[in-house]
Symmetry: C3
Subunit: 208 residues, 3 copies
């Protein structure tokens, strides 16, 4: 198994790093614009910024996308695309205390944090973050680059489209479709479908 | 141990089926109005609709009540009563990743999904669903046929009366009584007692 | 290891008692103004009220602070101070089904209930309650005597100052500071900083 390189150096990276350690993966160092001041990253070697990602690195290592995406996933997506465009790959990270149905399909480089529950029939796209304690019910589809924030709840049969953000503690009612690039606010309750690229807040959620 | 027959063929049935599999229970087939199109049910034999439930079936099998009950539990209750009126029985299903206090009393045919927590002194009635990630605090009483939806929180000393529905992500404050057949909406916060058979929505919850 | 004495005799004490049992700790009895009517406490010996706490007891036993603190932590804090002023100590209680990062610092007499998740870099002060299913994200600081109620969510980098109460199901957005003695209501969503000692309710939370 290849050694890993962590992209990013903040809180999200630190949680990814611990999951890697729990699996005994070897993390060689991290890429970031400058040396990290986060206590956890200081145990790792700083390898430079992300222009270091080249064919050679992509052949010899796998990556962890340690860039968070609260509200704006563009930096996270661009790191993903830089690596995959060079045929590099991301290691999927699943916290040992997540609960996954046997009947779940996972994409490339998915991150599943502690306390996450994924029920039967769910499909999780590439580069998706299922953050701490989030719940994906049966038969959901979570598309590429979506971020399901801590403790949010996606009920049965929901589609969360590409690059959407479901805020912390939010609930999406069953069988809805969250359009591409939607931002659902923290603690919001989504009770119906909305057109694309909206910011939805409140209980029930309204455009904001 | 008797083989099982699953009543119902949708998302709720599919989650029940996986819990049965995790325990190594043998499920002979399912009863539904027509053959299921759900991918998980297609691995099982369709045994016909629920008029097949007779004395003979009730003597030779146990049942799983795979009928969900969002908002209206009447079909689920009627399946329960048909079986029990013929002295048939339902298997209680407890996901291996639920956390139950040793001091909990469970009724007949209770379903406890992944990530559920039940604290000390709670009493759970017959045919109750404690859906994924729901939390029943100490000294609660959840009466027959109630449905505690995913990720809802019932604080200490609460009574949820028969046939009530506590919506996804809702919170019921401590020591309240939810009247019979109440529907508490998703993400609602119930802060006081209400008369019977109301629909309660919002934070704090009001009649709707 | 010293035997334990439980201070308090209600629902919170009963949950603490079960965690102690799960670890095989020996609980000698409980201190309360009168004999408890709670079914779980009736298996223990009533040792009198808390004026029994003296130097002798503090040398020979450790304590569990079984006094809850919904809204008003003063009785809980005064029990803590009485014991520690006599150089007595409290046993930290961690439910076996809590999920703790390896990079968490715990104060004295912390109580961590079932289903709690604490991520990397969190610091938890003395006499803190992390109630059932609460979530403390990476790099949070939860100061002395705070109570994080069931299923509440404290996002990354938040400081919850001394003696604050974060209500059931509430969410505190990342990097905020909750001032000393703040009461955050159940299901509230805190989106900005507030001056000291406020009662915050609603989504988004406002002074109440």
């Amino acid at each position: 198994m290849k050694d890993l390189i962590l992209i990013g150096a903040g809180g999200h990276a630190s949680v990814c790093l611990e999951i890697a350690e729990l699996h005994g993966f070897n993390v060689k160092g991290y890429l970031a614009p400058s040396k990290s001041e986060h206590f956890r990253l200081q145990t790792l070697e700083w390898l430079g910024n992300d222009t270091k990602i080249d064919q050679n690195l992509c052949e010899n290592f796998e990556f962890i996308n340690g860039i968070g995406s609260t509200g704006n996933p563009s930096i996270r997506i661009s790191a993903f695309q830089r690596v995959t465009s060079m045929r590099g790959s991301f290691r999927t990270l699943i916290h040992p205390n997540a609960i996954l149905s046997k009947y779940v399909k996972l994409g490339h480089g998915v991150q599943i944090f502690a306390g996450v529950i994924i029920n039967s029939g769910a499909q999780i796209g590439d580069n998706v973050i299922l953050n701490t304690g989030s719940l994906i019910e049966h038969d959901c589809k979570i598309e590429n680059h979506a971020h399901i924030a801590p403790r949010s709840t996606v009920l049965g049969g929901v589609t969360v489209s590409e690059e959407s953000h479901i805020g912390a503690g939010a609930t999406i009612l069953q069988n809805l479709t969250i359009a591409k690039k939607t931002l659902v606010g923290a603690q919001a309750l989504v009770t119906r479908n909305f057109p694309e690229q909206k910011k939805l807040m409140g209980c029930p959620a309204r455009e904001s």
